[in-house]
């Protein structure tokens, strides 16, 4: 495979016809949440697109992000886009190992300097000089800094790379940090989620392939096209929220009727992601559709944000002891003030003098 061929040529080699390409573009436009009328534009752009070199670095992570992406059955749309890039380094997926693998990374970094895409999953431990995670004797921190220098853009895949993720959860023993905490002089795109929706990962890559630039980002560095709406806004159960129809437990009538899961701790209203529209497993379902509330996995610090089953309108922590203490303290203070008032009154009474007309005439 030549790296310089266009995507259309690449697909043609794989026996894909124009109708197939049209279908591919319609699905890609759908993937990028573009209106169907944009499919033609996508087709025109993709026919010209060059295949970019991609280096994928995995740090403090569980490989769930890679699993999510590669578990889709071939040849799905994700697969084709994933194959349309030239993946030059991914230490879980590549055949080479040891020094050979690291050489492939170094070679790609040299050859495509300033042009390659850097994909990162996993957070980066920065405590104690970054000793808590190393690859080939090199700390994650150093490897990221080195690889980011020649990258056209950095894509943080998963909540760990985007916001620190589970390793960042209190008390964060390794000093886990997000990519954007470390790399500040390169464009960084966050694709959070635990894992992110595979079609969203490939959707961002498709956007880069189609338009040659990164998509527009929100305040938390996420592509607006996928993270522009909350789960709640796009949820098919939203009308039940508006009508005040809620499930009160996981096995009551409301739950069976498919009513809103707000009272069961659904974090949909504060979670920005595309699950409700893109869905999972080739569009089969998403957590709320299968009867469980959203846990908010694409938001920073979601694991430290109270229980998964606590409704958004309730406090995180128990307030019982604090409340009892406050009432006791209030009673004591009140008693002290009353005592003080009473003393003042007694004293005032004691010092009270009767004035006579004579006194006034003085």
């Amino acid at each position: 495979m030549s790296r310089d061929e266009s995507l259309l040529e690449f697909l043609k080699q794989r026996g894909i016809t124009r109708r197939g390409f049209l279908k591919f573009c319609a699905a890609t436009a759908s993937l990028m949440a573009l209106p169907p009328s944009m499919a033609q534009g996508v087709a025109a752009a993709l026919a010209q697109a060059r295949r970019p070199s991609v280096i994928w670095l995995s740090f403090q992570e569980c490989t769930g992000c890679t699993e999510a992406l590669t578990r889709s059955h071939a040849p799905s749309i994700e697969d084709l886009i994933f194959e349309a890039i030239s993946l030059d380094y991914h230490h879980t997926l590549q055949a080479a190992s040891g020094q050979g693998a690291e050489r492939a990374r170094e070679q790609a970094m040299r050859e495509f300097h300033g042009r390659y895409l850097l994909l990162v999953d996993g957070s980066i431990p920065v405590k104690d000089g970054g000793v808590y995670s190393t690859i080939a004797g090199m700390s994650n921190l150093d490897m990221l800094r080195e690889a980011a220098q020649g990258a056209a853009a950095v894509v943080s895949i998963g909540t760990c790379a985007a916001y620190g993720g589970l390793p960042h959860a209190a008390p964060n023993p390794t000093g886990a940090a997000a990519v954007a905490d470390i790399i500040t002089d390169r464009p960084v795109v966050n694709i959070p989620g635990c894992p992110p929706i595979p079609t969203v990962i490939t959707g961002v890559l498709a956007h880069y392939l189609t338009f040659g630039r990164l998509p527009e980002l929100d305040a938390l560095g996420r592509p607006k096209v996928f993270y522009g709406d909350t789960i709640h806004d796009r949820c098919y159960r939203r009308p039940f929220y508006d009508q005040g129809k809620f499930a009160h437990s996981f096995d009551d009538e409301g739950a069976r009727n498919g009513w809103c899961l707000y009272e069961l701790g659904c974090k949909g209203p504060t979670t920005y992601n595309a699950c409700a529209t893109t869905k999972w497993n080739a569009g089969t379902s998403f957590p709320i559709q299968s009867g469980h509330g959203c846990i908010g996995c694409s938001e920073p610090n979601f694991w430290d944000a109270g229980g998964l089953y606590k409704p958004l309108s309730t406090p995180y922590a128990g307030v019982g002891p604090a409340a009892a203490g406050a009432i006791a303290a209030g009673a004591v203070t009140g008693a002290a003030i009353s005592l003080h008032n009473r003393r003042k009154r007694t004293r005032a009474r004691a010092e009270h003098q009767r004035a006579t007309v004579k006194d006034l005439e003085k």
């Binding site: 606590k310 604090a322 003030i337």
Partner: protein
């Protein structure tokens, strides 16, 4: 890194709520003990037999007489609307009941959300008219001090932010929800130390007045 509204929401639902609740409970208890300990002067009159006068007064004083109503009908009407509205939105909105259930373990049925929504709008309009009348009426304006404006703002903000949050208006929901909870926490903190304390003392003092007057033979 960047400002994350989730952090603000986490504070509002965590430490912020705890602190506000502590100040609120401490303040309310303190005020109650203080008021109770003031005592009442000994009543030297011969007690007239009249049972339940306090309760009757509680009701009768809540209904305006024709004369007063003619003189300040607006004050009465909007006053009633926003007081009932505040009660309904606070205690009969489902997500709020969840909060009370979480904190106290008590549960009661709520009203449908669209109805609460309409009540919230009426409450906001009534509060706006209250503010305007306080601003435009020369006597009211003369009598208004910092405490009055503080109480009005502390009452109106939770309704306004709650309405905006429910409808996903003005700001992203996460941020608006955080602001809504923070505004309620502000209300909790200032409540015991402003005239808003009448929430607790009003009916007690009204009952006491009724009883005292009945004892003196001038019961309503």
């Amino acid at each position: 890194m960047w400002f994350d509204p989730n952090d603000l929401l986490a504070f509002a639902r965590g430490t912020g709520f705890q602190l506000a609740l502590i100040v609120f409970l401490l303040g309310v208890t303190l005020r109650f003990v203080e008021v109770y300990a003031l005592g009442r002067p000994r009543d030297l009159s011969t007690p007239r037999p009249r049972v339940g006068s306090g309760w009757r007064t509680l009701f009768r004083r809540s209904v305006p007489d024709a004369m007063t109503f003619r003189r300040s009908g607006v004050t009465f009407t909007v006053g009633y609307v926003f007081h009932i509205g505040l009660f309904a939105t606070l205690f009969l909105f489902r997500p709020h009941i969840l909060l009370f259930q979480d904190v106290t373990g008590l549960w009661w049925p709520g009203l449908p959300s669209p109805l609460i929504d309409a009540i919230a709008v009426a409450t906001l309009i009534a509060l706006a008219i209250t503010a305007l009348s306080r601003l435009l009426h020369p006597v009211k304006r003369f009598l208004s001090g910092f405490g009055d404006w503080l109480a009005l703002a502390a009452t109106a903000l939770p309704v306004l932010t709650g309405y905006l949050a429910y409808h996903h208006l003005a700001l992203p929901y996460t941020l608006m929800l955080a602001l809504h909870i923070l505004s309620v926490e502000f209300l909790l903190v200032v409540l015991p130390f402003t005239k808003l304390m009448h929430m607790f003392t009003l009916f007690i003092s009204r009952w006491l007045n009724g009883e005292t007057f009945a004892r003196r033979g001038v019961a309503s």
